[in-house]
C-alpha cells in the first residue's frame, strides 16, 4: 500500500517506484545550514561558470539576468494567459484520465476473470514512452487545446489505472463477501468498500498522474502549441532568449514541485 504514495514522473508498476524519503526532518538547525550552504555553493559555482567566459556569450546567463527576467515575466499579464492554458490542460487531463483510470481499475479488479485477462495489456503499455501516441492524438484532435488535454489524459490514465487496480485487489475479501451477502450492487460496493479503503492509494495515484500529466502537456505544447508554458519555453529557445527560458523553467519546476508537495501532504494527512 505504501508503494502507492511514491512519486514518479512515469510510473512503470507500483512496486517499481521509489519510496519517497520521509518529508521534513523538522527543526534541526544543522540540516537547514547544510541546505543553505548547498544552495549558496551551487549558485556561486553557477555564477562563476556564467562569468568565466568558458562558454559562448549568453549560453549560461547570469543569475541576475534570470532574476530580472523572472520579475518581468511575473509582472506581465501575457504570462498568466499562458500559465492558465497549461493549468487548464493539466487539470482537465488529470480529471479525465484519472476518472477513467479509477473507474476502469476498480471495475476490472472487482471482476476476477476480466481483470486477469485485460490487466496485463495495460500493465505492458504503462511504462512505454507515451510521447509516441502524440502523432495519433494530433490526427484525432488537431493541434489545439483538445489535443493537449488528450495527451495529458493518456499520460494520467496509466498511473491511476495501475494504482487503482492494485489497490482494489488488496481490499480485504471479507468486506467484499459481506457486501455480496447483503446483495449490494457493484456501485454500492465501490462507494462503501472500495473507495474508502483506497483513499490514500487514490491520492498517491493522483500525485503520480499530476507529474506525468505536467510532462505530457508541456512536451505536447513544445511540439505543437501556440500557447502555454511549453510554448513559452520553446519560443524563448527558438529566439535565443536564454534568460527567459531559464525563468520559465524555474517557474514551471516551482509549480510542479509545489503541487507535488501539496498532494503529498494531503496523502500523509489522510493516511493517519
Amino acid at each position: 500500500m505504501a508503494d502507492q504514495a511514491m512519486s514518479a514522473p512515469v510510473p512503470a508498476d507500483p512496486k517499481a517506484l521509489v519510496r519517497p524519503p520521509r518529508p521534513r526532518a523538522p527543526g534541526d538547525p544543522r540540516v537547514l545550514a547544510a541546505r543553505v550552504a548547498a544552495v549558496v555553493i551551487l549558485a556561486a559555482i553557477y555564477e562563476t561558470l556564467s562569468r568565466s567566459g568558458l562558454f559562448y556569450q549568453g549560453i549560461i546567463p547570469s543569475l541576475v539576468d534570470i532574476a530580472a527576467e523572472l520579475v518581468e515575466l511575473l509582472t506581465s499579464t501575457e504570462f498568466y494567459g499562458h500559465l492558465a492554458v497549461t493549468v487548464f490542460e493539466v487539470v482537465c487531463g488529470v480529471l479525465l484520465g484519472g476518472l477513467v483510470g479509477l473507474t476502469l481499475g476498480i471495475n476490472l479488479a472487482a471482476s476476477r476473470r476480466a481483470g486477469d485477462v485485460l490487466h496485463p495489456i495495460f500493465l505492458w503499455i504503462a511504462p512505454t514512452p507515451k510521447i509516441v501516441f502524440l502523432p495519433i492524438i494530433m490526427l484525432l484532435f488537431g493541434l489545439d487545446i483538445e489535443a493537449k488535454v488528450a495527451k495529458a489524459s493518456v499520460s494520467a490514465f496509466f498511473p491511476v489505472f495501475v494504482a487503482s487496480f492494485a489497490g482494489a485487489r488488496q481490499v480485504r475479501p471479507v468486506l467484499l463477501n459481506v457486501m455480496a451477502s447483503l446483495n449490494a450492487s457493484r456501485a454500492q460496493t465501490v462507494r462503501h468498500v472500495y473507495l474508502p479503503a483506497m483513499t490514500p492509494v487514490v491520492i498517491g495515484a493522483v500525485r503520480l498522474a499530476l507529474g506525468v500529466a505536467i510532462v505530457g502537456t508541456l512536451l505536447a505544447e513544445i511540439k505543437m502549441a501556440n500557447a502555454g508554458l511549453g510554448f513559452l519555453i520553446i519560443q524563448s529557445y527558438n529566439f535565443f532568449r536564454i534568460p527567459e527560458m531559464y525563468a520559465v523553467l524555474a517557474i514551471t519546476f516551482t509549480l510542479a514541485l509545489a503541487a507535488n508537495a501539496g498532494l503529498d501532504r494531503l496523502a500523509e494527512r489522510l493516511r493517519r
Binding site: S7, V18, V117, I131
Partner: protein
Amino acid sequence: MTLRPASRRAQNRLATWGVILALGVALQVMVETGALSRYVVSPPTEALGSLGELFVEDRLAQVFLLTLGMTFVAAACAIAVGVPLGLLLARVELLRRSFESWLGAAFSAPLVLLYPLFLVILGRGLGTLIVMGALVGIAPIALKTIEGARSIPPVLENVARSMNMTQGQRLRLLVIPAALPSVFAGVRIALIYILINIVAIDFLVSLGGLGSLVAATYDRYDMPAMYGSILFVILTSIAFFTLIEAGERWLTRR
C-alpha cells in the same frame, strides 16, 4: 472451476492474446469498411507490413540500436554518479537528512523539460541525449542505494566493528553486498525512465533514434509506417522492460 492455478494462468494469458487479436481484427474491419478513416488509422496489416520497409528504407535496426545504446550509456553515467552519491548520503547522516528529500523532489520533478537548456549548452547532438538520460537516472539510483546501504542488520555492523574493519573493508565486504539488490532495483527503474526520456527528447529534436523515426513518419504523412514505428517502439520497450526485470531477478538470486 477446478482448474489448477497454473493452467488457469495459462488460460488467462491465452485469453489476453485473444483480446489483442480481436482488437486488431476489429480495427482492420472498421478501416476496411470505412467506419474509421484510413487517413487517421492505418489497418493493422498495413502497419505490420510497413515494418519490412522501415527496416530497409529507414534503417530501423540502426535507429533501434542508437536509442538502446544511448540508454545504456546514460545509465552507466547515472550509475557512476548515483551509486557513490547514495553511499555518501547513507554514510553521513547530516547529508542524508538534508538532501535525501531533494533527491525525492528531483525524482518527481519534470526533469525532461530541461532538454532545451542542454541543447543550448551542448549543441544539438547525442551529448544532450546522454546528459538528459543520465540526469533522470541519478535520483532513483541514489535513493535506492541509500535504502540498500542503510538496510544492514546492526549485528553485522557490530561484527564489522569488533573485527576492526577499515572503511574500505567495511564498504567492500558489508555495505556494497548489502546494498546490491536495492541498487539493481534502482538501476531497473532508472533504465525505464532513461528510455522514456530519450525517446521523448528524440521525438521532439530528431537525433536519429526511435523517437525521430515516429516524428519523421508523421511528418511525411506515411500512415502505415507511422503506426508501424509506434507499434515497434511499444513492442521494443515492453521487451526491454521484461528483459531488465528478468535480468534483475537473475542477478539478485545469486
